[in-house]
C-alpha cells in the first residue's frame, strides 16, 4: 500500500509538471498566438470569444499567479475551451470523439507486438543459436531501424496503392454509419490492418530481444536445472518455470508501451489520415488551434500516466519484492 501511495504521489507530480508546462509554453514563447489565430479564423470569432481566448492562453495582462490558479480551476472542471479549427465545438468533445480510434489502433498493435515478440523471445532463448535465434534478431533490428512512418508509407504504397488490398486512408469508409453492425466492424477492421501492421513490425524486435536476454539469464538459474533434473517436460519448464520468471521486465515495457499507444501512433496516424488524437494534434498545430493543441497534449499525458500507474499496481501483485521495498 505504501508503495502504491508513493507511486501515486509521483504520478501526481508528473501530471502537475505537464499541466504547468502546458501553461507556461504559450506564455513564454515568442509571438502572440491569439492574433495569429484570429487572422486565421476570419470572421467566425466574436470579440468576447477572443477575450476568453486571451484569458485561456494567458495573453492578457493579469498577474501570472492569478492566471495560473484560473487555469488550474478550468482544467479540473474540464473546461478546455473551444476548438478554433472546428469552431464552435468544445475541445473536450473533439477529443472524446477521437481518442477511441487511437486506443483501438495503438491497443491492437501493442497487444499483437507484445504477444508475438515475447513468444519469439522465449523460443529464441530456449533454443539458443537455433534458427529463430540467429535469423530473426538481426532482421527485426534492421526493420526496426526504419523510421516507422516510412514503413507506414511503404506499406501504404505496396498494399494500398499497388496491390489495392487494403484501404489507404481514414478509419472507415466515408458515408458508412458508425455502429455495431458487421458491415461497419469489418470495414473498420480492414482500415486497421495496415497502420497496425507497421507499428507491430517496428516494435516486435524490441520485445523479442528484451525477452530473449532476460530469458537467457533466467535459463541459467538453479531452479531450471532442478526442474530439468526432476524430468519435467521441456515445454513446461520453458513456459512455467523460465518464461514466467522472465516476464517481469516485459510487464514494465508493457506500461511504457501503453504510453506509446496514445502518443506514439502519431506518425502512423498522420500517414494513414487515421482520425486519432495524434492526427488531430498535428492538424491543431497546423491550424494554430492552440486550445485544442493544449487539450490534446493534456489528454495524451493523462492517459499515459494513468496507464503506467495501473501497470505499477499490477507489478506489485506480480512481484512481491517490490512491496517490501
Amino acid at each position: 500500500m505504501r508503495f502504491i501511495l508513493r507511486r501515486l504521489g509521483f504520478y501526481l507530480i508528473a501530471f502537475w509538471a505537464s499541466i504547468t508546462l502546458n501553461f507556461l509554453l504559450p506564455r513564454f514563447m515568442p509571438g502572440d498566438p491569439v492574433s495569429r489565430m484570429f487572422a486565421r479564423s476570419q470572421d467566425r470569432m466574436q470579440p468576447e470569444q477572443i477575450e476568453a481566448l486571451r484569458k485561456l492562453l494567458g495573453v492578457d495582462d493579469r498577474p501570472l499567479l492569478e492566471q495560473y490558479t484560473d487555469y488550474l480551476h478550468n482544467i479540473f472542471t474540464g473546461q478546455m475551451g473551444v476548438s478554433i479549427s472546428r469552431f464552435p465545438t468544445p475541445v473536450t468533445e473533439v477529443i472524446s470523439s477521437q481518442i477511441g480510434w487511437t486506443l483501438l489502433l495503438g491497443g491492437t498493435a501493442l497487444v499483437i507486438a507484445a504477444v508475438a515478440g515475447n513468444l519469439l523471445g522465449i523460443l529464441a532463448a530456449w533454443r539458443r543459436g537455433g534458427a529463430i535465434d540467429s535469423a530473426l534478431p538481426p532482421l527485426l533490428v534492421f526493420i526496426g531501424s526504419f523510421p516507422y512512418f516510412w514503413l507506414a508509407m511503404g506499406a501504404l504504397y505496396l498494399f494500398g496503392v499497388v496491390l489495392n488490398w487494403f484501404p489507404i486512408r481514414h478509419a472507415f469508409t466515408d458515408g458508412l454509419e458508425p455502429g455495431f453492425t458487421w458491415e461497419f466492424i469489418g470495414d473498420a477492421g480492414a482500415h486497421l490492418v495496415l497502420p497496425a501492421l507497421t507499428i507491430v513490425l517496428v516494435s516486435v524486435g524490441g520485445w523479442m530481444l528484451g525477452m530473449r536476454n532476460t530469458m537467457i539469464a533466467t535459463n541459467s538459474e538453479d531452479y531450471i536445472t532442478m526442474a530439468e533434473a526432476k524430468g519435467l517436460r521441456p515445454g513446461r519448464i520453458m513456459l512455467r518455470y523460465a518464461a514466467r520468471n522472465a516476464m517481469l521486465p516485459s510487464v514494465t515495457s508493457f506500461g511504457m508501451g501503453l504510453g506509446f499507444v496514445v502518443g506514439g501512433a502519431l506518425l502512423t496516424e498522420v500517414v494513414f489520415a487515421y482520425p486519432g488524437v495524434g492526427y488531430q494534434l498535428l492538424n491543431a498545430v497546423q491550424g494554430l488551434d492552440y486550445p485544442l493543441m493544449q487539450g490534446l497534449f493534456l489528454t495524451i499525458t493523462a492517459a499515459v500516466l494513468l496507464a503506467n500507474f495501473l501497470v505499477d499496481i499490477l507489478y506489485v501483485r506480480l512481484d512481491p519484492r517490490v512491496r517490501s521495498n
Partner: protein, 308 residues
C-alpha cells in the same frame, strides 16, 4: 550494465586503467566492423556532398517525376529535382543533428546521472524525479507541441530533441554510476579528500566508458529518427535539405499516390542504414562487455557461458 560486476574479481587498480581489451574486442567484432564501415561511408558522403553534387541540390534541373535512369540515378521529384543529389546532401543535416543531439543529451545524462549517484540524498531524489517525469511524458506529442511554439529552424529542432531525449540516458547512467559509487576505490578517494568533481569525472566516469558509449549511440539513433519524424510532419525547417525533409516533400507532393516510389525510398533507407549501423556497434559493445550475450562458438566456451 554488468561491466563493473565482471571486473570485480580483478584488482581495483586494474579497474581504473583504460580498458584496452575493450577496444581490441570491438575491433575484432564483426558486427562492430560492419557498423563502423557503414558509418564511415555515410560520413564520407556527407563531407564530400558539395564536391559530388556542387550547387544547390534543391534546384530544378530536369523534368518532373522521372524514373531512375543513367542521367538521374535515383530519378527526379515531382518538382524536377535530382533525388540522388537531395539524398546525398540530406546526409549532412541528418548526421549533424543526430550527432549533436546524441552528444548533448548524453552529456546532460552524464551530468545528471553522476550527480545523482555521487551526492545521493536530496539531490538524487530531485534529479531522479525530474528524470522520471521526462521519461514518462509522451515524447512525440511533446516534440510536436514544442516545435509548434518555437520558431522553426535547425536550432529549435536540436533543442527540442535534447529536451525530450536526455532522460533515458540519465537513468541508465545513474544506475551504473551508483554501482561504481559503492566501490572501495571511490570511498578511498572520498576519504583522501578529493574534490567531488574530480571523483565524479576522473574516478567514476572512466569506469563507465562502455555504458556511456552505448547511451551515446542510442541517443544518436534517437536524434536521427526523431528529427526525421519531426521534419516529416513539416515541423522542422522545410527550406533545408535533409532526409526528413525529403520525406516530407515526397509525402506533400503525393509521391505515393502517383507511384513515384524512387522519391521516398532513398532517404528512408539511408536513415535505416545509419540507425542499423549504430545499433550494430551498440550490440557489439554489449557483446564485448557482457560475455553472456556472446554467440556460442567453440564447444569449450559453451558450457561455461551457458551455465553461468
Amino acid at each position: 550494465m554488468t561491466t563493473a560486476l565482471l571486473k570485480q574479481p580483478t584488482q581495483t587498480l586494474a579497474v581504473r586503467k583504460p580498458n584496452r581489451s575493450f577496444v581490441h574486442g570491438l575491433l575484432s567484432n564483426k558486427k562492430a566492423l560492419t557498423g563502423m564501415a557503414v558509418m564511415l561511408v555515410f560520413i564520407a558522403l556527407a563531407l564530400l556532398a558539395p564536391v559530388l553534387f556542387p550547387g544547390d541540390p534543391s534546384r530544378i534541373t530536369a523534368m518532373a517525376s522521372l524514373e531512375p535512369s543513367a542521367e538521374h540515378w535515383l530519378g527526379t521529384t515531382a518538382k524536377g529535382q535530382d533525388v540522388l543529389a537531395l539524398t546525398v546532401h540530406g546526409s549532412r543535416s541528418s548526421l549533424f543533428v543526430g550527432l549533436t543531439v546524441g552528444f548533448a543529451s548524453t552529456f546532460i545524462g552524464i551530468l545528471v546521472g553522476l550527480a545523482s549517484a555521487y551526492f545521493g540524498k536530496f539531490i538524487d531524489e530531485a534529479l531522479s524525479l525530474a528524470t522520471n517525469v521526462f521519461l514518462l511524458l509522451p515524447g512525440l506529442p511533446l516534440l510536436v507541441i514544442l516545435a509548434a511554439f518555437l520558431p522553426p529552424g535547425l536550432g529549435t529542432v536540436i533543442l527540442v530533441l535534447v529536451v525530450t531525449g536526455w532522460a533515458g540516458s540519465a537513468r541508465v547512467l545513474r544506475s551504473q554510476a551508483l554501482s561504481i559509487r559503492s566501490k572501495d576505490f571511490v570511498a578511498a578517494a572520498v576519504v583522501s579528500g578529493e574534490r567531488a568533481g574530480r571523483i565524479m569525472f576522473r574516478e567514476i566516469l572512466p569506469n563507465m566508458a562502455s555504458i556511456v558509449m552505448g547511451t551515446l549511440l542510442a541517443c544518436v539513433i534517437y536524434g536521427i529518427g526523431a528529427q526525421a519524424g519531426l521534419e516529416f510532419l513539416g515541423l522542422g525547417d522545410v527550406s533545408t535539405v535533409s532526409w526528413g525533409n525529403n520525406l516530407f516533400w515526397a509525402g506533400n507532393e503525393g509521391a505515393l499516390l502517383t507511384g513515384s516510389w524512387w522519391v521516398f525510398i532513398p532517404s528512408g533507407v539511408c536513415i535505416a542504414l545509419v540507425a542499423f549501423a549504430l545499433a550494430l556497434i551498440n550490440y557489439a559493445v554489449d557483446e564485448v562487455t557482457n560475455p553472456r550475450l556472446r554467440k556460442i562458438k567453440t564447444p569449450k566456451n559453451t558450457e561455461r557461458s551457458a551455465s553461468k
